[in-house]
């Protein structure tokens, strides 16, 4: 029998962990019907406000609510310190790494990261070589996925350095919890998260092209049919900046303008929620309808800043991931605070042999995959699924990595039968402008199906409010 996973609330001996003591006492005086009623209320409210996301691969183009769970995930001040230092350290090292890769490539010359892994990588943007982004910042916004397996065991699963999403849920969930459970906020001192948009705006203004007095910032979205459109609109609104689509922008004589009812207006900083490939049909994918022709040229000229920079994907695949602790040592001279998950590379003969023999124990992912699509969770998969996946691996081994199946921590969650433990992860949002910092909190995702380890919203995951307690 496998041992039970670490539970955020209850110790194996039945005792309650410190951050949850007050919650436990409150629960003891609260009926499950109250929770059920709050659960229904939250559902109605979210539906009415229209916080939905589009599901890809659904021909109806239908919109769904991401299920919201009414039980908070609570993190003590000490635990948070540790996580916060860990994610900031990673993002600092990753920013240095990207700069290095597009300039001197010292880390490759030192042999700390295999050259082939970088130069043969689809995500390597030759166009970025020698380019100096304002402030030297590439990753302005990162959403680092963390899982917990024990009292002091935090692992990073992914760094998400391109266009990480979900931060609007961090804020909306908090809003909802304060509305549903005002009495709990009287008992707990929960660090606020709703200043995130202000921090983001400060970050974006800081990286504006130099001689700009009051920079014009915009948020570039693929449009209302994108799954994260709600978030784009939400953030633009909270920051008080225009929410633009490709068609709203144009480039003239090396400068970027937006089309307004009063005529063209200069744009200095673009927080873009569109992938590199679709940003500029002249520079990247020719068939992109979402981008702005000439944008890349303006960017290279330094008349406009893109956040995140182009080419950050180079440090955001599941193969390069393995070398982040080495980067931290190389650039910062420090030991990595957060652990990596051991990773098997399927283009390596020994690794592949081991993985193919142990598919039923491992998690296998596509190197460039995201959103929980196209992955195999060995212990939960049927024999047929494993056999089919094996064929996919053999067809293109370099496209896959494998990791041991982690026993993600669980957190009590409201389900039909009442409260039950469900697996969770945590995504804090790390901002880098003048400095690198993180708003105390993040998005806790929860796998609502019993025993499931996949927390992605596209795969039936839900979210919880994440409480970082103040001292």
């Amino acid at each position: 029998m496998p041992s039970l996973p670490f539970d955020e609330m209850t110790r194996p001996d039945g005792g309650i962990r410190a951050p949850y003591l007050t919650y436990d006492a409150w629960m003891a005086r609260t009926s499950i019907d109250t929770l059920r009623q709050k659960h229904t209320q939250a559902d109605l409210l979210f539906k009415r406000i229209g916080i939905t996301f589009a599901v890809y691969g659904d021909s109806q183009g239908s919109e769904r609510l991401i299920p919201f769970d009414v039980v908070p995930r609570i993190i003590s001040a000490d635990e948070w310190d540790y996580v916060a230092r860990g994610v900031c350290q990673r993002v600092m090292a990753l920013n240095r790494f990207i700069h290095d890769v597009y300039h001197e490539q010292e880390i490759l010359r030192a042999g700390k990261v295999p050259r082939a892994l970088v130069e043969n990588n689809d995500q390597f943007r030759a166009e970025m070589v020698g380019f100096e982004p304002p402030g030297g910042v590439y990753v302005h916004i990162a959403g680092v996925d963390i899982v917990r397996t024990g009292e002091n065991e935090f692992h990073v699963l992914e760094d998400n350095l391109r266009t990480p999403s979900g931060v609007s849920y961090m804020m909306e969930n908090r809003d909802m919890m304060m509305r549903l459970f005002p009495d709990l906020f009287d008992r707990y001192s929960v660090a606020p998260v709703n200043h995130y948009p202000q921090e983001l705006l400060k970050t974006l203004k800081y990286v504006a092209p130099s001689p700009v007095g009051s920079p014009t910032v915009v948020l570039l979205t693929p449009g209302q049919y994108n799954s994260a459109y709600f978030e784009h609109a939400f953030l633009a609104d909270e920051m008080g900046v225009e929410l633009v689509q490709g068609q709203d922008l144009f480039v003239d004589d090396g400068f970027v303008y937006m089309r307004t009812v009063e005529g063209p207006q200069r744009v200095d900083v673009i927080y873009r929620r569109i992938d590199d490939d679709f940003l500029d049909p002249q520079a990247f994918r020719k068939d992109s309808m979402l981008g702005v022709p000439g944008l890349f040229e303006a960017y290279r000229k330094g008349t406009v800043t893109l956040a995140n920079a182009i080419g950050t994907g180079i440090s955001d695949d599941k193969a390069v991931y393995d070398y982040v602790p080495a980067m931290i040592e190389f650039y910062l001279g420090e030991k990595a605070i957060l652990r990596n998950v051991p990773t098997y590379h399927l283009d390596d003969d020994d690794d592949r042999k081991y993985v193919l023999e142990h598919l039923d124990e491992l998690v296998v992912k596509e190197v460039h995959g995201s959103g929980g699509y196209g992955m195999l969770v060995g212990p939960k998969a049927s024999r047929t699924e494993i056999a089919a996946y094996k064929d996919r691996i053999l067809a293109n081994p370099g496209n896959f990595i494998a990791q041991p199946t982690l026993a993600l921590s669980t957190c009590p969650t409201f389900v039909n039968e009442g409260l039950a433990p469900r697996h969770v992860d945590l995504r804090p949002y790390v901002l880098t402008g003048k400095t690198t910092n993180v708003v105390p909190g993040g998005l806790t995702r929860v796998a609502l199906k019993e025993g499931s380890l996949v927390v992605n919203s596209s795969q039936g995951g839900g979210t919880k409010d994440t409480w970082v307690l103040e001292r």
């Binding site: 009415r48 209302q224 225009e242 689509q245 089309r259």
Partner: protein, 327 residues
């Protein structure tokens, strides 16, 4: 403000207005359908809904005959029909969704709620509910939209574009309804049949919520010429052509007085302000309305030019295809 935002708000309002008018047209068709027929029992009273929306050919391709149940299902609930109430309000909701953060919370939420409920209505449910109740409901939801706009929206340019959309569309709809009725009724100025006038032109008035307005204004039995005057020239009636161009002209004067759009709206408004009903009927109502619809559409084009709207349209074809209707 982004041109695209202006475009979306303008069309959001137009689609809501269009849905409301479709409900009105179907409502009046339904009322007329219940009157004793002049013999043939044809589906003539259902034709206006199909003609105004430009959907007669596609209707005929799908159905052999014009019947109440088919037309109502087709024009109210059919998502495949881009002019149906459910499609039109769906487009309004899509436009609002794209700009939800520019709008007061109540506006998107109200449109969203309308659309969610509308989507769940089946024809069987419609029968249970009753046609009249359904049309009343659609009108109420549209009134709620207009009321919320006027009472909660900050009155900046976003507001002006929204209101402009309402009045441009309303003028267009009034003209179309009047024109189609004109064809169906073929009024003969010399023929005196007060009973027919009462029911037929009375139905036109009811479709426009103008029955009471007529009584108050004229204190007379229903005469085609006076109905025409009320719906075209009388500014005090809020669905008349004059009222709509007056409102559009005021808005455009405030938004951008030196544009062709403002000049054009002013010119059309002046003609209605100083026009006489006998001049309209002498020339022919149909010719007059045709010209109005064309010039009203021209204002819309000029608005697009003045505020750089055309290049910035981002809605997918499904929500764009029905923008300009065939005359």
């Amino acid at each position: 403000m982004l041109s695209r935002t202006a475009d979306n708000l303008y069309w959001m309002a137009r689609y809501v207005e269009r849905a409301e008018n479709m409900a009105r047209i179907l409502d009046v068709s339904h009322r007329m359908h219940q009157l004793p027929h002049n013999g043939e029992g044809s589906g003539a009273e259902w034709e206006p809904a199909l003609i105004i929306s430009g959907q007669k050919p596609s209707y005929e391709a799908r159905f052999d005959e014009i019947t109440a149940s088919h037309v109502i299902a087709f024009m109210a609930l059919d998502p495949e029909n881009p002019s149906s109430i459910v499609s039109t309000l769906g487009s309004a909701r899509e436009n609002a969704r794209a700009e939800r953060f520019v709008l007061p919370v109540e506006m998107f939420e109200s449109l969203n709620a309308t659309w969610l409920e509308l989507r769940s209505i089946t024809y069987t449910k419609l029968l249970e509910w009753g046609f009249r109740e359904f049309f009343e409901w659609v009108k109420e939801r549209c009134h709620q939209f207009n009321g919320t706009t006027v009472s909660t929206m900050v009155q900046t340019d976003a507001y002006s574009f929204t209101r402009l959309g309402t009045f441009i569309e309303r003028g267009d709809n009034t003209a179309r309804l009047l024109d189609v009725k004109y064809h169906v009724l073929a009024p003969d100025e010399d023929r005196l049949d007060e009973a027919v006038d009462y029911y037929q032109w009375g139905a036109v008035l009811r479709a426009m919520s103008a029955f009471k307005a007529y009584r108050i204004t004229y204190r007379d039995s229903i005469k085609p010429r006076k109905v025409i005057e009320l719906l075209t020239l009388r500014r005090e009636f809020p669905r008349s052509l004059h009222h709509c161009t007056h409102a559009a002209s005021l808005l455009l004067e405030e938004m951008s007085p030196d544009t062709e759009a403002a000049r054009l709206a002013g010119e059309i408004n002046a003609r209605l302000r100083y026009g006489r009903v006998q001049d309209i009927t002498r020339r022919g109502l149909h010719a007059f309305l045709t010209e109005f619809i064309a010039r009203n559409a021209l204002i819309s084009n000029e608005v697009g030019r003045a505020f750089h709207l055309e290049a910035s349209t981002t809605l997918p074809p499904a929500h764009r295809r029905q923008r300009q209707r065939q005359f």
